[in-house]
C-alpha cells in the first residue's frame, strides 16, 4: 500500500476512535432507520386504501353522488392486521332511509369509522337532529332490514345462528313485523344461497312469519381482492349497503317536491328525477 493510503487509513481509524464519531455514526443509523420506517409507511398506507378507481366504486357506490367514489369509501381503512372473512360480533343499528325526507337521512357511522368524510347525507343528518324530518308516528310503518352479512365459509355459523332463533323466537307468537331478513354476501354470487333458503324454509313458522318481507339475498358486488379481505371487505360491504337499500327505495316513485321542499342536486340525481328546480 502507498504511504498516502496508509496515512489516510490511519487518520480514518483515529477519527473512528474519537467519542464524537460514535455520536455521528449513531445519528446516521437512526436517520436511516427512520427513513426506512417512513418508506414502509408510504407503502402500507396505499395497501389499506380502497382505490377510488377500483370496481367497487363503479359497481356499488358511485351511482349516488352523495356516496361517490371519494366520499363513500374510507380513505384509511388499512394499517391493521388483515385476515380473510368479515369482522365478527358486530351488531349495528342504522337509520338508513326516510322516504319523507327523500331518502337522504343517512349518517356515516363516525364511531365505526372515524375516517369517513362528511358527505351530503351526513350533512342532511344534521337537519334530522333538529327534528325536521322524523315526524313519523302512528300509521306510518317503518320497515326494518335485518342484514345478515356472511361469506360462504360461514354456512355452519349462519345455520347455527338461525337455529338459535327457534330457542329465542324473534317475535311474539303469531306476530308479523315490518321486517325483511337480507342475507348479504360481499361478492356477486354465493354458493350457499340454496342452502340458506333450505335452512330458512325448514324453520318453524313462528320464526319466519315474524318477517313480513321474508328472506332475501343481497350482493355487495365487491371485487374479490376487496370483498374477502378484512377490514376492507367488511367496510366496503357496509358502505355499499346504503346504496343497495337506497335503490330499493328508489324503485318506488319517490321524487315529488312536497310542501315546497327544495331538492338538492344530489337528491335529484339520486332520484333519477326530471323535476326542474
Amino acid at each position: 500500500m502507498y504511504p498516502a493510503g496508509r496515512s489516510a487509513m490511519r487518520e480514518s481509524l483515529a477519527w473512528l476512535l474519537q467519542p464524537r464519531s460514535y455520536l455521528v455514526i449513531v445519528t446516521l443509523c437512526l436517520g436511516l432507520l427512520l427513513l426506512h420506517e417512513w418508506r414502509l409507511a408510504l407503502v402500507f398506507v396505499p395497501r389499506g386504501r380502497i382505490d377510488a378507481e377500483a370496481p367497487i366504486t363503479a359497481a356499488a357506490t358511485s351511482r349516488i353522488p352523495a356516496f361517490g367514489a371519494e366520499s363513500a369509501l374510507p380513505s384509511a381503512v388499512g394499517g391493521g392486521k388483515r385476515r380473510r372473512g368479515p369482522a365478527s360480533g358486530v351488531g349495528t343499528y342504522i337509520h338508513v332511509l326516510d322516504r319523507d325526507g327523500l331518502g337522504e337521512h343517512v349518517s356515516l357511522p363516525a364511531a365505526t369509522h372515524n375516517a369517513a368524510p362528511r358527505t351530503t347525507w351526513s350533512a342532511n343528518a344534521s337537519s334530522l337532529a333538529e327534528g325536521g324530518a322524523l315526524s313519523g308516528g302512528a300509521g306510518h310503518e317503518r320497515h326494518l332490514a335485518l342484514v345478515l352479512p356472511y361469506i360462504d365459509d360461514q354456512a355452519p355459523r349462519i345455520s347455527q345462528m338461525i337455529r338459535r332463533w327457534q330457542r329465542y323466537p324473534p317475535c311474539a307468537a303469531r306476530a308479523t313485523l315490518p321486517a325483511t331478513a337480507y342475507f348479504y354476501h360481499p361478492s356477486s354470487t354465493s354458493k350457499i344461497v340454496g342452502k340458506l333458503r333450505q335452512i330458512w324454509e325448514s324453520m318453524p313458522a313462528e320464526v319466519t312469519q315474524c318477517f313480513d318481507g321474508g328472506m332475501r339475498t343481497l350482493y355487495a358486488q365487491l371485487p374479490d381482492r376487496v370483498g374477502f379481505v378484512h377490514p376492507d371487505g367488511t367496510c366496503g360491504q357496509f358502505y355499499a349497503l346504503f346504496n343497495i337499500l337506497h335503490e330499493q327505495v328508489l324503485a318506488a316513485p319517490l321524487c315529488s317536491s312536497r310542501d315546497g321542499v327544495v331538492l338538492s342536486a344530489a337528491a335529484l340525481h339520486a332520484c333519477r328525477c326530471t323535476t326542474s328546480t
Binding site: 358486530v90 342504522i94 337509520h95 334530522l128 335485518l146 338459535r164 313485523l177 330499493q248
Partner: protein, 57 residues
Amino acid sequence: MQVHYFYLMEPDALPVRAGWLDRLVAMAQYPPCTEFWVRDRRGRAMGSVLSCDGNEW
C-alpha cells in the same frame, strides 16, 4: 320495498332473549325511539337527540 332502518347482524351475534326482533322494529317505529342515525352494539345512540325511553343505553 322501502327500507327505513337496517340492523347489521353478524353471524356470531346471537339473541339471548325472545322477542328481539320486536324490540328492533319498535325502535324503528315511533319517536323518540326513532331519533337516532346509528346505534352501536350496546344500543347506545350516536347523534341522537333523545334516548328512546329516557334511560341510558
